[in-house]
């Protein structure tokens, strides 16, 4: 396995990663979208949340047209007269933030439960893994919709729904790595040297279980963004006051048949680029962390 901690293997990891042009394209695209999201308020021509800045007379202008104030809307405007460029930048911000927070919490929660299940085994393992099985047998979108229908909309609730859906993937992977690692002789040597279970688990087993997790966290980050967009599109996600990419797509959906494509298509493209870039990175990460493909 490639170990990301050693200086030699870090260099190896970098050289393996940069060997794939597709993964580099993915990385570049992601840095671009994340960068735009990060400094969004500084570069956006307009604050789409500021009702004073929006002019209803400018609604549904096509890309490149000039508004009544004389400013040009490069990506057009939506039904409320909002500048699409700014709306997409702010929407991207919301989407990436929610995806990042949700997948991070899912990572921590899932890894913890997976480690406990794999190390304790017995009934603890049985209980945790049956919950995982139960959840995996129901489509994740369904679980998220039911949860949001009960809890209501809001940023906190959608993060909760995403974490609920996603922790199982981390738990399952970490448990299987943990089951392999705990049988290795360095763990038994640790027991003989008087190490506590917590020390063995956190200092020795955990670092050796993390390689596959790096792949999953990238994939699940992309999933979280896509799932949040789906939920918002369906109208159970974020409220209108905090438009994410999904909401923008859904808002423009009704105008699509009028030929006013830009309200849906441009946020859709932004979503596509973000998710695609993450998937390109994850795909390549999976290749280089797969021991069968090691040279």
């Amino acid at each position: 396995m490639s170990t990301a901690t050693a200086p030699t293997s870090t260099r190896r990891f970098v050289s393996l990663f940069t060997a794939s042009p597709l993964a580099l394209v993915g990385l570049a695209l992601f840095i671009l979208t994340a960068g735009i999201a990060l400094i969004g308020p500084m570069i956006a021509p307009q604050n789409p949340y500021d009702l004073a800045a929006i002019n209803l007379l400018d609604s549904r202008l096509s890309p490149g047209s000039e508004g009544i104030d004389g400013n040009i809307y490069w990506l057009g405007t939506d039904g409320h007269g909002r500048d699409m460029t700014s709306a997409i930048i702010y929407g991207l911000r919301t989407s990436i933030m929610i995806g990042l927070i949700a997948s991070t919490i899912a990572l921590v929660l899932g890894t913890t439960l997976g480690l406990i299940a794999g190390y304790a085994r017995g009934w603890v393992d049985a209980v945790i893994m049956r919950i995982v099985d139960l959840q995996l047998s129901v489509p994740s979108i369904l679980i998220a919709i039911v949860l949001l229908a009960v809890l209501g909309r809001g940023v906190g609730n959608i993060i909760l729904a995403l974490v609920t859906v996603q922790w199982v993937y981390f738990a399952r992977t970490v448990r299987s790595s943990c089951l392999i690692e705990r049988e290795k002789e360095y763990v038994q040597a640790g027991v003989l040297m008087g190490f506590s279970h917590a020390r063995i688990l956190l200092r020795h087993i955990l670092p050796n279980c993390l390689s596959p997790v790096t792949v999953i966290v990238t994939v699940e980050f992309a999933h979280a963004i896509a799932l949040e967009a789906t939920l918002s599109f369906l109208g159970v996600g974020l409220p209108i006051t905090e438009p994410s990419l999904g909401y923008l797509i859904s808002a423009g959906f009704s105008y699509l048949l009028n030929g006013e494509y830009w309200i849906s298509i441009f946020p859709g493209l932004a979503l596509l680029v973000t998710v695609l870039s993450l998937n390109l990175i994850a795909d390549h990460l999976r290749d280089i962390t797969d021991p069968r493909l090691q040279r």
Partner: protein, 565 residues
């Protein structure tokens, strides 16, 4: 025999592997030939390129490796190195048969052995139906499978390791090949099965007039059945000749060292002669005191029984168990060393794990230095006593945390057990690393930067920093090359003398056991067959099983003739 045309002539064979940084020459300009009815032994340590030669002859070298030079002339087939893949398919199986180390993965698990054997027969000879079946039966009979008719309908998992290896040999013989390539065919097998398989190979070579290339790391196997031997090192052929001559009068220093490093079963050596480029171990000052103390036993096991459930069921009476240890009693006086020997499944490792508290016992009692093992594991007050028993494991690649630097791995137990402050722990660590033959710089490295032998030294160092009273070694050298094994065994001997260690040494190798133990315990099916002083056990074995083990063990006598001090 000299007039006969060789079955295969390997001329100036070179195999290279393309790496990201240049290329690596695995086989460098090797020239060899095999005559009909002859067994050629290819011997060398890991990384010597001996398996690569075997694979190259069958053209099984895969990308990124490639044959970059030389010819492989097979009788009646021309140069194999120039054939394409389709032509090679016709030769593998019918002209060349291969036997691998792992018989389980060499057989297809979901087809009966009859189906596999008859398919091999059909592909190589064109026989089908009842003719193929008759030939399959004949082959199974020939390799010594009892009741071949019933066995044809069975699946690979229904056979033992030795039986599976016989089936692999039968499949390799399906096309009546001129050449058999056997790559470590007996390494995974117990000694008694090993001797049967080697006998079979010898008989086949003579009966069929086939040439055999036998690849092995084991000098005793070479001496027992090969006619000629080729010694390889770092991809080069360094010595080549009739087995008797090479073993009796080796020319190269490496060959001499290789022969001397083999542990001898017939006598106990003070130290092993190690190779010139083996890591130097700092010299030892021998203690004046005798290492045997009259303090009572360090390890005292009484009527220990350990069972594993092999079939679970809701009703207890439907469950079935196997007994890994059955009423085992064992006393090891402080400062002495006991060797535990037995074949796979004899329960020797389970006993070792139980002694240090890694395995719970069903009944009986084990005390370590006067404390009950169960209490040692659970009572926090006895924690300092508990760490006085340390273990060295078989697999040096799994016994170190791959992400922890060596220095940190040695310091951590000292800090955790409050045995030293950080500075002091640092000093102890560096001193211990030096003691086992490593340098101070090695403390900053990660485990993957070391070879197997070095890792085993690190494991020994990690055990030593705890200042143990009892050291349990579970097959510590069976994953290592003989020359490395010799240095590790020397190190363990010296440490035992220096530190008055009580040693419990588990091995399947009688010769190794003879070198390291004062007393020997022979185990079979979880029971102790015989326990005696080492010399008296080896010179005059009482139990039938002990005699059987000694008889089956390939004896390496050439070492004796070379043992001039």
């Amino acid at each position: 025999m000299t007039a006969q045309e060789p079955i295969v002539s390997i001329e100036n064979l070179t195999v290279e592997y393309a790496l990201t940084s240049g290329s690596f020459t695995a086989v460098d300009n090797v020239t060899l030939d095999v005559k009909p009815g002859e067994i050629l032994g290819l011997v060398g340590e890991s990384g010597a390129g001996k398996s690569t030669v075997g694979s190259a002859v069958a053209r099984l070298i895969d990308f990124p490796g490639a044959i970059t030079g030389g010819r492989i002339l097979l009788r009646n087939s021309g140069d194999l190195a120039s054939l394409n893949e389709t032509q090679m398919c016709g030769i593998r199986g019918s002209d060349i048969g291969m036997i691998f180390q792992d018989s389980l993965s060499a057989l297809f698990p979901v087809k009966t052995i009859g189906a596999q054997l008859m398919r091999a027969i059909k592909l190589s000879t064109g026989l089908t139906g009842s003719a193929a079946r008759a030939r399959a039966l004949k082959l199974l009979e020939e390799v010594g499978i009892p009741q071949p008719k019933a066995r044809l309908r069975q699946y690979p998992h229904q056979f033992s390791g030795g039986m599976r290896q016989r089936i692999v040999i039968a499949i390799a013989l399906a096309g009546d090949p001129q050449l058999l390539i056997a790559d470590e065919p007996t390494t995974a097998l117990d000694v008694s099965i090993q001797s049967e398989i080697l006998g079979l190979l010898k008989r086949l070579a003579v009966d069929h007039g086939a040439g055999v290339i036998l690849i092995t790391h084991d000098m005793a196997v070479i001496e027992e059945i090969t006619d000629r031997v080729a010694v390889m090192r770092h991809g080069k052929l360094i010595e080549h000749g009739a087995t008797r001559d090479v073993l009796a009068r080796p020319i190269q220093d490496y060959t001499k060292a290789l022969i001397r490093a083999v542990p001898r079963i017939d006598t106990r050596m003070e130290r092993f002669v190690v190779m010139d480029d083996a890591p130097a171990v700092s010299p030892v000052t021998r203690p004046q005191t005798s290492h045997i103390q009259a303090d009572g036993p360090a390890i005292d096991a009484t009527d220990v029984t350990i069972s594993f459930m092999v079939k679970n069921a809701i009703l207890p009476r439907n469950r079935s168990y196997i007994r890994a240890a059955d009423n085992v009693s064992l006393k090891v006086p402080a400062g002495s060393s006991v060797g535990i020997v037995g074949e796979s499944g004899s329960g020797k490792s389970t006993l070792a794990r139980a002694v240090c508290g890694l395995q719970s016992i069903d009944s009986g009692k084990i005390t370590l230095m006067g404390h009950d093992v169960g209490a040692l594991a659970s009572d926090p007050a006895l924690k300092r006593e508990r760490v006085k028993a340390q273990m060295i494991f078989q697999d040096p690649f799994a016994s170190l945390d791959p992400r922890q630097r060596i220095g940190s791995a040695l310091i951590e137990p000292l800090i955790v057990n409050k045995m030293a402050e950080r500075d002091e722990a640092q000093d102890i660590t560096l001193a211990t690393l030096k003691r086992v033959g490593l340098s101070e710089d090695d403390a900053n490295k990660l485990p993957h930067q070391f070879s197997g032998g070095q890792r085993q030294r690190i494991c020994i160092a990690r055990a030593l920093v705890m200042d143990p009273a009892v050291l349990i070694c579970d097959e510590p050298t069976s994953a290592l090359d003989v020359s490395v094994q010799a240095t590790i065994l020397n190190l363990l001997k010296d440490l035992r003398d220096e530190r008055n260690l009580t040693l419990m040494f588990i091995s399947h190798d009688l010769a190794v056991i003879r070198q390291v133990s004062d007393r020997v315990v022979v185990m079979q099916h979880g029971k102790v067959c015989e326990e005696a002083e080492t010399d008296s056990l080896f010179d005059d074995p009482q139990h039938e099983y002990t005699r059987h083990l000694m008889k089956m063990m390939p004896k390496f006598t050439s070492g004796a003739r070379l043992q001039t001090p």
